[in-house]
Subunit: 349 residues, 2 copies
DNA sequence: TTGTATGCGTTATCAT
DNA sequence: ATGATAACGCATACAA
């Protein structure tokens, strides 16, 4: 009869396993077993229970479930709130999308927290102490030594998004293979015939930037090009600087014939500067950029790009984390996601 | 003594209010009352309890708290997964940032879910049925009649992000004042001296697009300009089309002298097309765009823009939702966020 | 102001 | 394969 369900609904009381049990004539524990499905139940009772659950419009109360089991079935994603930009970062957001997708597939909720300092403890520490999630994904910029220490001490599952500056071998992390990315960029440019390749980076300090510079140098040496200090230029976090940097780069006696850019905005400024100088791309100078979004292919000319698969990045991170949650002995793992080269007009010699 | 805390830690068992109570020599309920702070407790016992909590490194178990109280202290943000773009949408992401900020301030966690269809019920319905959150924020694109009906029937707190197509008056929602936005754009262009203003929209179907077109027409009539059908052009969701659209627009005998664009990418294509046609901006034709990110100010020339404050959007949504959660009688509310005009070179007559 | 007792809905540990 | 029952940690109604 639908009546019971309706009465419940009117009273605004939820149907519980007890109600199901009573109606079917079994013990609540039997109903619980059916729900969890990890015990063998006779086909007959199982079917009857399922039918009644359907009939009474039963939905397990996750609050009670979590409490009884001690799991939250949620993972936490930490956002580095020191710059609001994170959320505006398209690449990061593809990762978030991937993380959400994987979580949902595994039956986990995704909880997002900005890593701000509160009165005494950070929001992240709070998540851990109060058991709000079963594990966390941490951007490397938020992976402070203190936090890492806490997580390890509590044996709290976590994975770092981006190669960390510390404890590289004693933590799990996932990153883009930045070194390989710029190496393949240099090699491709060289193969096309460019001889003097400059690199304009966002900064020289972050791990990913350092890796990219290493890969750049490695690429040069592998194709037998000399490394020139002044061919690496630093925007110092202000991409507007790329405009003037380009102009002065092209002022050198020994000016480059190709420029590799750390991101799309830098590339945009480089193109503007070259245009002002009356230099044709790719005729007189080649331009290649990291990141294939959002404007790379709309630029004039369309930009060749080192494409970075941030979906995979998030996917790997989430998958690894959930494995760790479900298996405490799961070993630490470091993963590098390969980059891909998208050749477009801007490097067509 | 630290000993107890240490033993606990070694056993990997958490300190509970019972432990605190025993140590202090009070009843667990007294400890509970101190934690929740809504009962009057004698200064003396309160201080002793707080001291011991500190000493034993106590942290309330949110699983137990939530279960006992019946609240999750979490709000759900639904993402429209039908396009992965949502996450890549900078404007949307500013809203997310705001929502997270407000939630955290009120002590709520933020849970993000893609609105995909699962076996039988959507992820959103699941959140509601299984009491995973206390309320949800729903993009208007996900506000299907079926879901709205469910939410209302369950008296489940929710708020819609973007003016919904249905039940406008019987739901709470927050949106950008799109109509006023294009109206002020038209008026500003007219005031500058532009006489024939075209409008290239993403589509003609979504509520926000319809509102913008209404505002555009209202603006025209207020400044006494005639409305011409062919001055409204539709990209049909493919912004690349804006390139060809612009070319054919300028082919008319009665070609426009200003173009208002639905977003940055459209504006970029418009600029490209005008450049190819050898038309100077703003000399021969003015260009203005909705949205001030990310490239509007870097364009050549820098683009005037209707700036849309998506941070406020999210802030309002979250604030209203939490009020609703905390006060069941809180009345439905419809909020429109004002737009702002950023005048740059592209409309300098 | 504080203590006692009960219950929240489920899982898990014994039984049988 | 299933039943009975004890937890889980906290909030709260009722007593005192």
């Amino acid at each position: 009869m639908q009546t019971v369900a309706l009465e419940r609904a009117e009273d605004n009381m939820s149907v519980t396993i007890k109600d199901i049990a009573k109606k079917v004539g079994v013990a609540p524990s039997t109903v619980s077993r059916v729900i969890n499905g990890n015990t063998v139940i006779s086909r007959k009772t199982k079917d009857r229970i399922l039918a009644v659950m359907e009939e009474m419009d039963y939905h397990p109360n996750s609050l009670a479930r979590n409490f009884a089991s001690g799991n939250t079935y949620a993972i936490g994603l930490v956002i580095d709130a020191r710059d609001e930009q994170t959320f505006s970062n398209t690449f990061f957001n593809r990762s978030v999308y991937a993380i959400e997708t994987v979580s949902q597939n595994f039956g986990y909720s995704l909880l997002i927290t900005n890593d701000r300092e509160e009165e005494k403890q950070s929001a992240v520490e709070k998540m851990v102490f109060e058991k709000k999630v079963d594990g966390i994904i941490l951007p490397s910029t938020s992976a402070a030594p203190k936090l890492i220490r806490l997580l390890k001490k509590q044996k709290f599952p976590f994975i770092i998004l981006g190669e960390p500056g510390i404890e590289k071998a004693e933590t799990s992390w996932v990153d883009i293979n930045n070194a390989a990315g710029s190496e393949m960029a240099v090699k491709s440019l060289a193969k096309t015939g460019y001889k003097k390749i400059a690199f304009i980076v966002e900064n020289r300090t972050t791990v990913f930037s350092v890796k990219r510079m290493e890969g750049y140098q490695k690429g040069l040496s592998e194709v037998g090009y000399p490394f020139k200090e002044q061919y690496i230029q630093d925007c110092m976090e202000n991409t507007d600087n790329a405009f003037l940097i380009t102009k002065s780069l092209m002022d050198y006696l020994d000016a480059p014939d190709a420029i590799l850019c750390g991101n799309n905005v830098i590339a945009y400024q480089v193109l503007r500067a070259l245009k002002e100088l009356g230099l044709s791309v790719p005729g007189q100078i080649g331009v290649m950029t990291f990141d294939n979004y959002p404007f790379a292919e709309y630029m004039d000319p369309p930009l060749s790009a080192v494409d970075v698969d941030t979906f995979s990045l998030g996917e790997q991170a989430a998958t690894n984390l959930i494995r760790k949650i479900q298996n405490a002995d799961y070993e630490n793992q470091q993963t590098l996601i390969s980059t891909k080269l998208l050749l477009r007009e801007s490097t067509n010699k």
